[in-house]
């Protein structure tokens, strides 16, 4: 037996079931004081009961919302389970959101009780309480710096647990009273197109989605998973809560936010969830480090990465591959791929899901070529985090695969994807039960789905068919020196792009050339940097020129921004997706100047400092012309099975 039966169950009952079936199997680990500490399923169940009793003693009742504010920490997991045990509804929040950002969410869910990881989160919640007097109780897990706090309703986790001890006996009755169609958790959407929306997901909906993925991927209790994504993200919740409780595998909490790379290597996950941004930044680090390698190593790396690009994916998919290529790949595996995967902590990965956003074709192909079984997952908070997943042996970069079991799909007249099924959140569907995703899509004959983009984001150049800006942006970001790109052009004659340099790689590059600068803004404005990025953009243009649908969408002009796009400035979501509307408003003057063909534009960009103050960052930004490629100029790119196989980047 691998997974436990989840139909008709609540997550609290699934926890008890795991504690019964595999009491001594490791359920949760956390690296603390340099050592991985382990909790078995029995221990997790006991902790959850203690937290549940504490909540009962604190007067929390069935149906009440309980905020969970912090990063992946075992005690926040216990808090979440404890709340669910007594029928209360956990509302996980991103740890890096400001007080102002979390108020609307807490207000709408009527939160009166909150768990805070540490002083930082307590300060935030106390700030929130000024606007939200209903928030009467705050329990903190880590007491550092909080000794002198005497605000009413603030208590330590230990005090809550102690007060709960007499109520421990009534917890199991509460667990038995839960129903599968009760709301299990309230999550919020990332809010790329506006204010975040909430998704009230039932035990049944989450369990259905989680079990479906578990059976598709054959997940067992032996999986190791690293919980490195925000608690409030639906995909993280689906895997590290719902699937965890169904499959009984081990979830590992990183030591801190900046040790994830080390922790990944320590653990060597077998099942991994990641986002395109993470994959991009990992790859940039590899490219940077290769710059420091000896000539021989670099030559080997380049040669074998080209071999991998040619045959790696075919091998992974089980397609026939000539013997010579097989041998070359095996040699490359010894010399390059294995050590590389080891450095990335990806040696043991059986299956990795990339979710949250469309992943660039080249990026996707590169990881797969190393033999990492990366799959795209398409989901939405309103649909329990997963709608479609790619199935083994039918993976192509431009499709997100077929819908999971029980989920029906349909396209509206305007090509908007609509979803119906048992995994939907409450109150998100129309009268006929369809949830409108807001994404434009195509559905192929075999049922596989191709997501084009957010409907609202599609760009139609004057007199041409519309295309997704992400197609261009993901290509731009794939180049070493570009961290973020935002393209504009709807209703215009040509495409223009705002660019963020990748500070680490450009800094490294500048250091090698002994260029001097005093900070981000100055480095971004150096003529040498402009030339470097001009080359990168010209390369992307050359690639776009080979695609008849996109050749008109080449980047005509670009400007390099003097600051990084930042979630604190509302330019990105907390999961680092672009908030296009916000960016368009903020940089409207600049974009207008670019379309008009001006050479420079003065801008005053509003920024928020770490301490919450608002200020303006004035700058006069230069606007540069990008080199365009003609349609016949193929620039050495070849296409294979719909993806660009020649896209292994040369170093520089």
């Amino acid at each position: 037996m691998t997974a436990v039966e989840s139909r008709g169950q609540t997550f609290a009952r699934l926890l008890l079931e795991q504690a019964r079936v595999r009491p001594d199997h490791p359920a949760l680990r956390h690296k603390s004081l340099g050592i991985w500490q382990t909790w078995t399923w029995r221990q997790v169940a006991d902790e959850a009961r203690a937290f549940a009793a504490g909540l009962l003693a604190a007067g929390v009742v069935r149906g009440q919302a309980v905020a969970i504010v912090g990063r992946n920490r075992p005690r926040l997991y216990f808090a979440m389970l404890g709340a669910q045990a007594i029928g209360a509804i956990p509302v996980p929040m991103h740890d890096d959101e400001s007080a102002n950002e979390i108020v609307p969410m807490l207000e709408r869910t009527g939160v009166a009780f909150a768990f805070a990881e540490n002083q930082e989160q307590v300060d935030k919640l106390l700030e929130v309480r000024k606007a939200l007097p209903a928030l009467t109780r705050i329990v903190y897990l880590n007491s550092r710096g909080l000794h002198r706090y005497e605000q009413p309703g603030l208590m330590s986790c230990e005090a809550m647990l102690e007060a709960g001890a007499p109520r421990l006996a009534s917890v199991d009755a509460e667990i038995a009273a839960g129903k599968a169609d009760d709301v299990a958790v309230v999550l919020h959407t990332s809010g790329t197109t506006g204010e975040a929306k909430i998704g009230r997901l039932t035990h049944g909906a989450l369990a259905r989605a989680a079990a479906s993925i578990a059976s598709i991927e054959g997940l067992t209790e032996h999986e190791e998973v690293l919980a490195h994504l925000p608690l409030a993200w639906v995909k993280q919740h689906l895997v590290c809560h719902a699937q965890w409780l169904i499959c009984g595998f081990t979830v590992n909490c990183p030591e801190s936010a900046d040790t994830v790379a080390t922790d990944l290597r320590d653990i060597g996950p077998t099942y991994h969830i990641t986002s395109p941004r993470d994959l991009e930044s990992l790859l940039k680090q590899v490219t940077l480090r290769m710059e420091d390698a000896s000539g021989l190593k670099r030559a080997l790396y380049l040669y074998f990465m080209a071999v991998a690009a040619r045959v790696g994916d075919h091998l992974l998919e089980g397609d026939p591959v000539p013997l010579a290529d097989r041998l070359a790949y095996q040699l490359g595996n010894w010399l390059v791929y294995s050590p590389l995967k080891d450095a990335l902590g990806m040696t043991r990965i059986r299956v990795a899901h990339v979710a949250g956003e469309a992943v660039g074709t080249e990026l996707f192909a590169l990881y797969r070529s190393l033999g990492i079984n990366l799959k795209q997952v398409y989901g939405a908070t309103e649909a329990a985090g997963v709608i479609c997943v790619q199935r083994s042996h039918s993976i192509s970069a431009d499709s997100v695969g077929q819908p999971i079991e029980g989920v029906e799909l349909r396209l509206s007249e305007s090509s908007e994807l609509m979803v119906r099924g048992p995994t939907l959140a409450l109150d998100v569907a129309d009268a006929e039960g369809w949830f409108h995703t807001g994404d434009a899509a195509q559905i192929a004959a075999d049922g596989s789905v191709r997501i084009i983009d957010r409907k609202a984001d599609l760009i139609a150049l004057s007199g041409q068919a519309s295309f997704s800006p992400k197609l261009i942006e993901s290509r731009l970001r794939f180049t070493t020196f570009i961290k973020e790109a935002v393209v504009f052009g709807d209703g215009r004659a040509s495409v223009v792009a705002l660019i963020n340099i990748d500070y680490d790689s450009v800094r490294d590059w500048a250091e090698r050339r002994e260029l001097s600068y005093s900070g981000y803004a100055e480095l971004a404005a150096l003529p040498e940097t402009v030339a470097l990025l001009g080359d990168a953009i010209a390369q992307v243009n050359a690639a776009l020129a080979t695609d008849p649908a996109l050749t008109g969408a080449q980047v005509r002009r670009f400007a390099i921004l003097h600051k990084e796009l930042d979630p604190d400035d509302l330019e990105l979501t907390r999961t680092h997706k672009l908030r296009r509307g916000q960016i368009a408003r903020k940089y409207a003057l600049l974009v207008e100047a670019m379309h008009a063909g001006r050479r420079e534009q003065h801008v005053d960009i509003e920024v928020q400092f770490e301490d919450g103050r608002i200020g303006a960052l004035p700058a006069t930004l230069l606007i540069h012309d990008a080199r365009l490629a003609s349609t016949s100029d193929r620039a050495g790119f070849t296409t294979a099975r719909g993806r660009r196989a020649g896209s292994v980047r040369s170093i520089e």
Partner: protein
């Protein structure tokens, strides 16, 4: 911060004078430090701040005056004695073992707390093994406290300056000092690093009740985090009191604005 319970005098220096040949570094300096307080020594370049700190923990021997530390009166301290009696310090120019990792550097700060002898440690046998595990746990607690887990295994020489300063603080803390002497903990840092360092100094003071004596150049920082401030100029004490008192002291204003003496 004023809610913090400040105790009696833990350290007092009386009529200290120090000269190097004919150069008078300190002339007749007296002040005291109370338990659990943050006490700053400020002054322009060459005012004798570092000399004062060096006298306190026994690096220099004063020609005149005496020091009372935890009830004991002495002519001068001895560095080893100072360490054994709960005094730890950091240096203006970082003094870490550059080739060793952060963790190893912090572990050296535990040296005084180790009881097993050299041979037992070399064999890593019985009590020595248990002891090292216990010491490592303490070191890890400090690493956690100062949020340097990420660089635990990184050689110190590869770290940027601001982080090296933090590692030095970690090593000083590893000795679990009663009194922590910090020699320009924020010199050469950018604003963000300074803010971090302030936060750490204050939490050390709050969490462990450590008495802190710090030398600092940056007036703004000093006024924000100190309970009381001593001002030195040309080896003489020209001011002593709360930040507000010192700020309004005419002699101090003159010294900082460079009025001719």
């Amino acid at each position: 911060m004023n809610e913090r319970k400040i105790g009696g005098v833990i350290l007092s220096v009386q009529n200290i004078s120090l000269a190097f040949g004919g150069v008078k570094a300190l002339t007749d300096i007296s002040f005291d430090v109370r338990e659990h307080e943050v006490r700053a020594i400020i002054g322009p370049n060459g005012a004798g701040k570092s000399s004062m700190l060096n006298v306190i923990n026994g690096v220099y021997r004063a020609q005149q005056g005496q020091i009372t530390y935890r009830g004991q009166v002495r002519k001068d301290m001895d560095t080893h004695q100072a360490a054994e009696q709960g005094m730890a310090r950091t240096f203006q120019n970082i003094a870490l073992f550059k080739g060793m990792t952060v963790l190893d550097n912090v572990m050296t700060g535990r040296n005084l707390k180790m009881k097993s002898n050299f041979l037992m440690q070399a064999l890593w046998w019985g009590p020595a093994q248990r002891e090292e595990m216990e010491q490592r746990r303490k070191a890890e607690e400090i690493i956690d406290f100062l949020e340097i887990q990420r660089i635990r295994k990184t050689p110190v020489s590869r770290l940027p300056y601001g982080l090296q300063k933090r590692v030095e603080l970690a090593r000083a803390l590893a000795a679990e000092p009663k009194v922590l002497l910090l020699d320009e903990p924020m010199a050469g840092m950018n604003v963000e690093e300074k803010q971090d360092m302030c936060r750490f100094i204050l939490s050390v003071n709050e969490q462990f009740g450590t008495t802190i004596v710090l030398i600092e150049h940056d007036m703004g920082v000093v006024m924000d985090i100190s309970d009381r401030v001593v001002v030195l100029d040309y080896g003489k004490k020209i001011g002593d009191g709360t930040p507000d008192e010192v700020r309004n002291n005419q002699e101090v204003i003159d010294a900082y604005l460079g009025i001719a003496h």
